[in-house]
C-alpha cells in the first residue's frame, strides 16, 4: 500500500470530522492530549508545501490564543469555589447595569485544572479540523462535490485559482504606483481601482470563454420544484426542533424528520444533474480502512481513559500514516 501518496480529499475530511467528534466525547487531559498530538503528527508529516497547508499552524495558533483567553477569563472572572488557593486578585464588583458581575477573588488550583481540561476539548476540536484542511487539497475537494453543488464548485474553483493571481496583481500595481511618484504606504484608492477594473474585465472575458465552451447548455435544475419544497419543509421541521431544544423539550424526533427531508431533497435535486466527471479521484481500500478506523475511534473515545484505551486512541488517530507517504510538490 506504499504507492499511495495521499488520500481521497473526502477521506481526509472524514478523518478530521471523526477526530472532532471523538474529541467532543473524550474525557480527561490524557485522551485529548493524545488526539491533539497524534493529529498534529499526521498533519505535519503528510502536509505538502501548498498554501492551504498553513491551516495546521494557523489552527495551532488560534487554539493557543483561545486557550490563553479562556484561562485568562476564568482567572479574572472566577466564580468563588473551594480548593487550594494559589493567589488572590482584589475583588471588584461591576456596576448594576453590567449585572453586578464579580471580578477577581481567590484563584484555586482546582478551578485552573478544570478550566484547562475543558479548554483542551476546544483545542482538539480546532486541531482536528485544521489538520484535515491542511491535508485535503481544496481544489480536489471541489472536484468531488456532487452535481447539485456544481455551480458553486465552479465559482469556488475560479475564486481559488484567481486569489494568488490577484495577490500578484496587487503587488504589481503597488510597484507601478511608486512609479507615479506615490509615497503613501497604503493608498487604497490607487491600488483598489486598477485592481477592480482588472478583475471586472477578467470576469467578462471569463464569462465569454465559458459561454463559448458550452457552459450552461445543460441546466442542472429546472425540471421540478420538488427538491426545493422538501428543503423548505426540512428547514421548517428543523426550526420546530430548535424551538423544542430551546424551551427544554425533547427535540430528537423533529430533528430526525428534518434531517430525512433535507437529505432526500438534496438527493433528488442531485439526480437532475446531467454532468459527467473526467477521471474521478478513486476511492480505494486505503480510504475505507481509514474511515473504518476513524469510526472505531469515535466509539472508543467515549470510554474512560486507561492505558489500553489510550494506546487504541493513538493508533487509530495515526492510521493515515500507515497508508500514505509524504508528497512534496516540485514548486
Amino acid at each position: 500500500m506504499t504507492d499511495v501518496k495521499t488520500l481521497h480529499p473526502l477521506a481526509w475530511w472524514g478523518w478530521g470530522i471523526c477526530l472532532a467528534i471523538a474529541s467532543s466525547r473524550a474525557q480527561g487531559v490524557g485522551a485529548l492530549g493524545l488526539i491533539i498530538i497524534a493529529a498534529s503528527t499526521v498533519a505535519f508529516s503528510r502536509k505538502s508545501n501548498d498554501p492551504w497547508s498553513a491551516a495546521l499552524v494557523i489552527g495551532i495558533k488560534i487554539s493557543l490564543v483561545a486557550l490563553t483567553l479562556r484561562m485568562f477569563i476564568a482567572i479574572l472572572f472566577g466564580v468563588p469555589g473551594q480548593g487550594k488557593v494559589l493567589f488572590t486578585i482584589p475583588r471588584v464588583r461591576l456596576p448594576e447595569w453590567m449585572a453586578g458581575i464579580l471580578l477577581g477573588g481567590d484563584v484555586t488550583l482546582e478551578r485552573i485544572r478544570f478550566v484547562f481540561t475543558e479548554s483542551l476539548t476546544i483545542f482538539a476540536l480546532i486541531i482536528a479540523i485544521a489538520a484535515a484542511s491542511s491535508l485535503a487539497n481544496p481544489k480536489q475537494t471541489l472536484r468531488t462535490l456532487p452535481g447539485i453543488l456544481h455551480e458553486a464548485g465552479v465559482a469556488l474553483i475560479i475564486a481559488t485559482t484567481l486569489i494568488p493571481h490577484f495577490a500578484m496583481s496587487v503587488r504589481r500595481i503597488r510597484q507601478a504606483r511608486t512609479l507615479r511618484g506615490d509615497q503613501q504606504r497604503f493608498g487604497f484608492k490607487k491600488t483598489l481601482v486598477p485592481l477592480f477594473e482588472e478583475s471586472l474585465e477578467h470576469a467578462l472575458v471569463l464569462a465569454e470563454s465559458m459561454e463559448a465552451r458550452g457552459y450552461g447548455r445543460n441546466p442542472s435544475r429546472k425540471v421540478s420544484s420538488a427538491p426545493a419544497v422538501m428543503l423548505l419543509l426540512g428547514l421548517v421541521a428543523l426550526l420546530f426542533a430548535l424551538l423544542q431544544l430551546v424551551i427544554g423539550a425533547s427535540f430528537q424526533l423533529p430533528l430526525l424528520a428534518s434531517a430525512l427531508l433535507v437529505v432526500s431533497g438534496l438527493i433528488i435535486g442531485n439526480k437532475q444533474n446531467l454532468r459527467t466527471r473526467y477521471r474521478p479521484i478513486p476511492w480505494r481500500r486505503n480510504e475505507t480502512f481509514v474511515m473504518i478506523s476513524s469510526i472505531v475511534l469515535i466509539v472508543i473515545s467515549g470510554f474512560t481513559t486507561n492505558s489500553m484505551v489510550a494506546l487504541a486512541l493513538l493508533v487509530l488517530t495515526l492510521t493515515p500514516l500507515l497508508v500514505t507517504s509524504r508528497e512534496v510538490n516540485p514548486s
Binding site: T161, R172, L179, S209, A212, T276, Y278, R279
Partner: protein, 536 residues
C-alpha cells in the same frame, strides 16, 4: 461555411454603427485572416460569427449569419460549441480551472460527455497540439505560447468545424508565434477545420493565409484572396510595401516569393552605408550603468551577472524569448525590484534609494500593463492628477497628451480608451517630468500600425542628447524601425549586444522581413531602402 447576409450591428451604449449591410461568404476548410485597424471591429466581427455578439454583449442586430447552416440568431453560442469555437485575445484570462488536463475537459464535463469519450478526446488533443508533456502542469506556470495552445485544445475537444482566434500571437515572441501558427495551419490541412484569425502582425501570418477579410476604417469590408486584397490595401507587411515601392506588379506573400521577385534588385542595390554613430556616443556620458547584476527568485536565477551601459542618445531594445528575464531587467533598473548582487546606477544614483519625485524625474517607466498607472474616473482627472503627482505646472501633462494624441474627449473613462490611446495617456503621464531615462515594457501589444507609428515618433522625439530610451519588445519590425542598439537575453544572460543592424540581421528569429529578403546586405526597413534609392 460562414455566411453573412445584410448584417448590421449597433451598440446601444456606444451609439455608433459597427457594421452596416455586411454580406460575405467564407468557404469551408480555409485559413482566413481578418485584418484592419484597432477599433475597426475585428474582434466584433469574430464574435458575431459565433453569436457572442449580440447574445452575450447586447447590441441591435439585423440580418442573418449562418454557420454551417445554423442561424446564430436562433442559437446561443453555447449551443454551437460543436460547430464553431472561439479563443479570445488573452487566453489566460479565459481559463476556468487550475491545470491543463482539467481545462481541456471543462467544456465536455458540463456538456455531459461520457467519461470514456472524454478520455479519448483529451489524449487526441494532447497529441495533436503537442501538449502531452504539459498535461499536469499548472495553467499559471505556462508560457504565452503554451497557454495559447491549451486554449485552442480546450475548445477543439468539442469537435468544432470552425475555429476563431482573436490575435493569437500578439503577446508571443516570434518563435512561439511561429509554433502556434504552424499548429493552426496543420488543423486546416489535416483536419479540414476552417480557421479564422484576427491579427495585427501581418508579417507573421500572411504566409499561411488562403483568404483575407479586410475591415476598413469606414467599416466597409472587403473579402478576397490575399493577392487581390494586398494589391492596394492601406495595411501591408514590409515585403509588400517594398515590392509596391519598387512598382513590382506581383504581390509577394512570403519571404521566398519576395526574394525571387527582388533578386535582381537586391544584387543591384549598393551596400548600405550607415552613419557610424558609435564614435559620437563614445563621447557622450553613460546614463545607465549596470554591473554584475544577479537576480534570483527562490532557487531560480532570473538574471545572471548582467553588465550593461547605456549612454545618452541611445534607443536600446531588449529582446529574447518570454521568460528570458526582460521584465526583471527593466524593473530592476527602475528601482522597484530588489536584487542580490551587483549594482545599478542611473545618472550615478541608485534608483532603489529614490522615492517620489526624485525617482520619477530620473526614470520614467511604462509597465507591461500600462493601465496599472491609471486610477482616475476620467481622462481629464487623470491628467490633472498627473500634474499634482509629478509636481509640475498644471496643464503640462494634458499639453503633452494633446501632442501625442490630439482630439481625445477628456470626460472619457480611461478604461474606455483603446489600447493605443491608453498607452499614449500613460506615456504623457510618465513623460511629464522629462525623465532622462525612459523604460518601456512591451509597448506594442495590441497596437495597430498607426498607433505604432505614433509611438515611434513619440519615442524618437523624447530622445535628446540628455536622455535615452530602453524598451523590451517582441515586435521585430518596431525594433528595426526604432532601435539604435539591440541586446538579446537568453536564460538571464546577455547573449548578444550591438548595433541594431548587426544583431537583427544575424539572428534568424529576430530578423525583420526586409532583412530576410535583401540578405546578406544589412537592410532593416523599407524606409531605409527607399531613402538610399532616393539618394542615388
Amino acid at each position: 461555411m460562414i455566411r453573412f447576409v445584410n448584417v448590421t450591428l449597433v451598440y446601444p451604449y456606444v451609439q455608433r454603427t459597427i457594421f452596416e449591410n455586411l454580406s460575405f461568404d467564407v468557404p469551408e476548410g480555409e485559413f482566413v485572416l481578418v485584418m484592419g485597424d484597432t477599433g475597426a471591429g475585428k474582434s466584433t466581427l469574430l464574435k458575431l460569427m459565433n453569436g457572442l455578439v449580440p447574445h452575450h454583449t447586447g447590441g441591435i442586430f439585423s440580418g442573418t449569419i449562418t454557420v454551417d447552416g445554423h442561424d446564430t440568431a436562433l442559437h446561443k453560442p453555447r449551443d454551437l460549441v460543436d460547430v464553431i469555437a472561439i479563443v479570445g485575445q488573452n487566453p489566460a484570462l479565459g481559463f476556468v480551472t487550475d491545470t491543463v488536463e482539467e481545462e481541456l475537459v471543462f467544456g465536455m464535463e458540463s456538456l455531459g460527455v461520457a467519461p470514456d469519450v472524454m478520455r479519448k478526446r483529451v489524449e487526441d488533443m494532447l497529441d495533436l497540439l503537442a501538449l502531452a508533456p504539459l498535461r499536469n502542469r499548472k495553467l499559471s506556470s505556462l508560457s504565452g505560447g503554451e497557454a495559447q495552445r491549451v486554449a485552442i485544445a480546450s475548445v477543439l475537444t468539442m469537435n468544432p468545424k470552425i475555429l476563431l482566434l482573436d490575435e493569437p500571437t500578439s503577446a508571443l515572441d516570434p518563435i512561439a508565434a511561429e509554433e502556434v501558427l504552424a499548429t493552426l495551419s496543420r488543423l486546416v490541412h489535416d483536419l479540414g477545420i476552417t480557421v479564422v484569425i484576427a491579427e495585427h502582425k501581418l508579417e507573421r501570418v500572411l504566409q499561411f493565409v488562403d483568404r483575407v477579410i479586410y475591415v476598413r476604417e469606414e467599416r466597409s469590408v472587403a473579402v478576397g484572396l490575399p493577392h487581390e486584397i494586398f494589391k492596394d490595401s492601406e495595411l501591408a507587411p514590409p515585403i509588400i510595401q517594398l515590392s509596391r515601392a519598387l512598382s513590382n506588379k506581383q504581390v509577394p506573400l512570403t519571404v521566398r516569393d519576395a526574394r525571387r521577385q527582388l533578386s535582381e534588385f537586391a544584387s543591384s542595390l549598393r551596400p548600405i552605408d550607415r552613419l557610424d554613430t558609435s564614435k559620437e556616443q563614445d563621447e557622450s556620458a553613460p546614463l545607465l550603468q549596470i554591473e554584475n547584476l544577479t537576480v534570483k527568485y527562490g532557487s531560480k536565477t532570473a538574471l545572471k551577472n548582467i553588465s550593461l551601459t547605456v549612454k545618452t542618445g541611445e534607443i536600446v531594445a531588449i529582446m529574447g524569448r518570454n521568460g528570458a528575464g526582460k521584465s526583471t531587467l527593466l524593473t530592476s533598473m527602475v528601482g522597484i525590484r530588489e536584487f542580490d548582487t551587483g549594482s545599478i546606477l542611473v545618472a550615478r544614483q541608485d534608483p532603489r534609494k529614490l522615492k517620489g519625485k526624485a525617482l520619477i524625474s530620473l526614470v520614467g517607466f511604462v509597465p507591461q500593463e500600462a493601465s496599472d498607472l491609471l486610477y482616475a474616473q476620467s481622462v481629464g482627472e487623470e491628467l490633472r492628477n498627473s500634474d499634482s503627482d509629478n509636481l509640475v505646472a498644471s496643464g503640462t501633462t494634458s499639453e503633452l497628451f494633446a501632442q501625442l494624441l490630439p482630439g481625445i474627449d477628456s470626460s472619457v473613462h480611461p478604461r474606455d480608451l483603446s489600447e493605443g490611446e491608453r498607452l499614449s495617456l500613460v506615456l504623457a503621464i510618465v513623460l511629464a517630468n522629462k525623465p532622462p531615462l525612459l523604460v518601456l515594457d512591451e509597448p506594442t501589444r495590441g497596437l495597430d500600425y498607426q498607433a505604432k507609428k505614433r509611438l515611434v515618433s513619440a519615442v524618437r522625439s523624447t530622445v535628446t542628447s540628455e536622455s535615452a530610451v530602453i524598451l523590451a519588445s517582441h515586435d521585430v519590425e518596431l525594433v528595426a524601425e526604432l532601435a539604435t542598439r539591440v541586446v538579446v537575453l537568453a536564460e538571464g544572460e546577455v547573449v548578444a549586444d550591438g548595433p541594431a543592424a548587426d544583431i537583427l540581421t544575424s539572428s534568424p528569429a529576430f530578423a525583420p522581413q526586409v532583412a530576410k529578403v535583401l540578405a546578406p546586405a544589412k537592410w532593416l526597413t523599407v524606409n531605409e531602402v527607399l531613402a538610399s534609392l532616393e539618394r542615388e
